[in-house]
């Protein structure tokens, strides 16, 4: 596990440095163009990036969770979900159980956030919580926990900040260049040819850089998804759980209201997916769901990284590789599987829907009284009367 994390870190460093260089080059040429000083532009770019990084590092997870309208739960709010996350924390060897959030949204999705394994969170939509049985939920949570374990969350947050800075600079820079007057262009008397070259380079950079940066970002994001799937299979020793959950996710096309392009790679499936789209393309943050399912189901009973890599090659006809070679020797002995007997007591679809709606009411500070006649009374947080009558059987309940 350590080898794999370390090789990830090297690759991430290269990526982040590459994108950072791109940002600084843009800053330099913009500075050269607007106020004849490349260093000035560079400083502006660095300042912009620093501010965004600091905000992203310290506030990124809370901004993401708040903008998604996520509510934090404790063990007693939803014991099954809490236990499953704890089980996966143990299987992955994470030092601390991440905070668990539920997003009140009927669409199906889940994501992980947090800058390091000691301060991480997982979130799931209430829609997905209703849909999945225990094994499937375990697969999804294993996938999210492996994002935390592999440090994908921090990497994607940092790169998305860089991407954001590049896009922002290019967008404003090109608008000002095209529509507004540039600073040094009019009063500059020093050689028109040099000025022209700078302008062309700056314009080209501003058009190409965001596209280029986005392609790097998406490529890395896709690879991370495969790796997280492979880790999820290894943690649960049961690839079918995640495969079956992905099948349910793929069958729905509900778009998550609170997601945007920059936060998209954090989710288990692309929050902007359209139904039935199978073709993989360069501008997608996630590999096609159908392909991820095919790979998981081709693992043939095994659950190690080697099994996943073999299955990936089989699906891609021998091309490509997703697991770093140094991680291949890692254990994934499927002879010691966790018994799947617990599914016997798994609540059905209807019970899960009731259970989830109970949790959502409770998280909104509603009290629930169960009348002996079978009716559930929901008491709003600011209800002031001392008693309430059941509308069904007329019995009075004291509050």
């Amino acid at each position: 596990m350590w080898e794999q994390i370390r090789s990830n870190q090297i690759r991430s460093a290269v990526l982040v440095i590459g994108m950072g260089a791109l940002l600084f080059v843009i800053g330099y040429f913009l500075g050269l163009y607007f106020f004849d000083s490349g260093i000035g532009g560079l400083l502006i770019a660095i300042a912009l990036w620093l501010i965004m990084t600091l905000v992203g590092y310290f506030q990124g997870d809370s901004i993401l969770l708040a903008s998604a309208g996520a509510k934090k739960i404790k063990h007693d709010d939803h014991p099954r979900l809490y236990n499953i996350v704890e089980e996966m924390r143990i299987a992955s060897g994470l030092p601390k159980t991440p905070d668990i959030y539920i997003i009140d949204d009927p669409s199906l999705n889940a994501f992980a956030t947090g800058r390091d394994p000691n301060k991480a969170a997982v979130a799931i939509t209430s829609g997905l919580l209703q849909q999945l049985n225990r094994d499937e939920l375990q697969g999804v949570m294993a996938h999210e926990i492996s994002h935390i374990k592999n440090r994908d969350v921090l990497l994607m947050a940092m790169t998305s900040v860089l991407l954001g800075a590049i896009v922002m600079l290019s967008w404003y820079g090109s608008r000002i260049m095209i529509f507004g007057g540039g600073g040094s262009r009019r009063d500059s008397s020093s050689g028109g040819a040099a000025q022209g070259i700078i302008m062309i380079v700056a314009l080209l950079l501003m058009i190409l850089a965001p596209i280029f940066a986005q392609l790097i970002y998406f490529a890395i994001s896709r690879k991370r998804e495969y790796l997280a799937d492979a880790s999820a299979a290894m943690y649960t020793r049961y690839p079918e759980g995640l495969a079956s959950a992905l099948e349910k996710l793929g069958a729905s096309s509900g778009q998550l209201k609170s997601a945007n392009q920059a936060t998209a790679p954090m989710y288990i499936v692309n929050p902007f997916r359209k139904k039935g789209r199978a073709a993989t393309d360069l501008s997608s943050t996630h590999p096609p769901i159908s392909e991820r399912i095919r790979i998981l189901r081709a693992m043939g009973g095994g659950a190690s990284y080697i099994d996943y890599e073999t299955a990936y090659k089989q699906v891609h006809k021998g091309k490509g590789s997703v697991i770093p070679a140094s991680a291949m020797s890692l254990a994934g002995d499927s002879s010691q599987t966790v018994s799947r007997a617990s599914t016997a007591d798994d609540p059905g679809r209807l019970e899960r829907t009731r259970e989830t709606s109970d949790v959502m009411w409770k998280l909104s500070d509603y009290k629930t009284i169960e009348c002996p006649c079978g009716t559930k009374l929901r008491i709003p947080p600011h209800f002031s009367d001392k008693s309430i009558q059941c509308p069904h059987c007329g019995q009075k309940h004291m509050l």
């Binding site: 704890e86 089980e87 143990i90 299987a91 943690y235 010691q336 018994s339």
Partner: protein, 188 residues
């Protein structure tokens, strides 16, 4: 002459660096194994704590299952008593506790009143999850031991391990043969 000296010095420095990094890597893996073992311990203790609660809830409903209930209590007490001994003896006792528990939960299926009890349902989820946590912590422990042992036995890190006295770790096997069998349910 001088060049030979410098080359020799370079080799010595490289060897030292290799030793330091390998040694630290081995220590990190050994600590991971220790930590993983502690994780199993936490979950096993949690199971000891859950069982008295379960007994309290169940005994009013299952008056005719004295044997099954006693088997669980005895297995729990035995497992707790030998919890300081080695991995082999311990995994046997814990395996027996697991199978006694699964027998009890299987028998509980015959008591509809008990199955409607909220307290029992909550305990059932906790117990099932604790069983899973035990399995997952054992899985992580065995994976950690495998990585550690690989490092100790494979060239070239085995040289450092041999010099510094690192010993291979012991796997936590499932020794109780009946743990993997389906629980026997008697309807007498």
């Amino acid at each position: 002459m001088e060049i030979v000296l410098w080359v020799l010095l370079g080799i010595v420095v490289l060897l030292l660096l290799f030793y330091v990094f390998t040694y630290n890597g081995l220590v990190r893996l050994r600590n991971q194994v220790k930590n993983a073992w502690a994780q199993i311990d936490v979950q096993l203790k949690r199971r000891y704590d859950l069982i008295p609660n379960l007994m309290e809830t169940v005994k009013g409903y299952m008056k005719h299952e004295r044997e099954t209930l006693e088997a669980v209590t005895n297995a729990r007490n035995l497992a707790q008593k030998i919890s300081d001994s080695g991995a082999a003896a311990r995994s046997k006792a814990e395996g027996e506790l697991s199978s006694a528990l699964s027998r009890l939960l299987a028998v509980a299926e015959n008591y509809p009143d008990l199955k409607a009890n909220q307290n029992f349902l909550a305990l059932q989820e906790e117990l099932a999850s604790t069983e899973n946590k035990i399995s997952f912590s054992r899985q992580f422990y065995n994976d950690s031991v495998l990585n550690y042992n690989n490092k100790i036995q494979m060239f070239p890190s085995n040289i450092v391990a041999g010099m510094s006295g690192f010993k291979t770790g012991e796997f936590f096997e499932v020794t109780a043969a009946n743990e993997r069998e389906a629980p026997k349910v008697s309807f007498s």
